[in-house]
Amino acid sequence: MEGALIAAAVLAAATVFGLVRRRRDGVLRERRQGARRGGGDMAETLGPDELGAALGERATLLQFSSAFCAPCRATRRTLGEVAGMVDGVVHVELDAEAHLDLVRRLNVVRTPTVLVLDGAGRVVRRAAGAPRKADVIAALGTAIP
């Protein structure tokens, strides 16, 4: 009897979690400055040294991936397509494991996590989970003046 109650509670909690997660997954949002502990990532500026790759002239789509990540592949495809479509935009994919300092500093907890950087390397948008192509293009609209 107790076990059945536990099972029911787990299923209910997981359903709520799954619905919330599905709605937020891949949504590129603007973070308010200082909204997160440590000042948040909106104040963050990333340069070519940290990324190990050149920034895009107008914007950079930075993707954190890991070895055990099914949606990372679809995200790679989406961001690669957008970078190929818009001039001055590059797609940079980093293995989260090989950049744990950066992962901690930016508070990346999931893969894929996508950061949209403007031409100066400032983080202007961020998504956890695979973003939709239309949303990435819309986010670029805010990153590119």
Binding site: A7, V10, V108
Partner: protein
């Protein structure tokens, strides 16, 4: 190696039903059987995973070919996470510590259910969290093999 993602969802659904049965009955033997299923998938690959075999033999022939295949590594890692929880749970029930059995089984159930219904791989996401909290500035990928 690539796998049909629908097979993963099917296997997760069967796992969900089994784990609910474990919670209702408190049977350590049933949870141990599920641990064996996890172990086969983790050690030998999803190609040999029992629920995946059922899917391949009974269900896939009736469906259209998958739109897209998926890399095997993430779900296989998640099966390993499931193995750990089911072993802890089995030990809990067998040793007469029901909260341990129930707790471990409940966590495994949540992960299996999220995978079956929403396609989320909770076990996969634990990977980065575990790596993040592991101290060390420049940890290479050597530890990947440990899992």
């Amino acid at each position: 190696m690539q796998v049909d993602p629908r097979g993963q969802r099917f296997a997760a659904a069967v796992t969900t039903v089994v784990l609910i049965a474990v919670l209702v009955t408190g049977s350590w033997a049933l949870l141990a059987a599920q641990a064996v299923v996890f172990a086969i998938a983790t050690l030998f690959g999803l190609r040999y995973a029992p629920y995946g075999r059922v899917y391949a033999v009974l269900i896939r022939p009736r469906l259209a070919p998958p739109r897209e295949l998926e890399d095997e590594a993430p779900p296989r890692f998640a099966q390993g996470v499931g193995l750990v929880f089911s072993l802890v749970g089995t030990a809990g029930y067998a040793a007469g510590i029901p909260w341990l059995g129930n707790g471990a089984t409940a966590l495994a159930l949540a992960a299996a259910f999220l995978n079956a219904v929403f396609g989320f791989c909770l076990g996969c996401e634990m990977y980065l969290l575990v790596r993040r909290s592991t101290p060390g500035k420049r940890a290479g990928s050597a530890r990947v093999g440990d899992y």
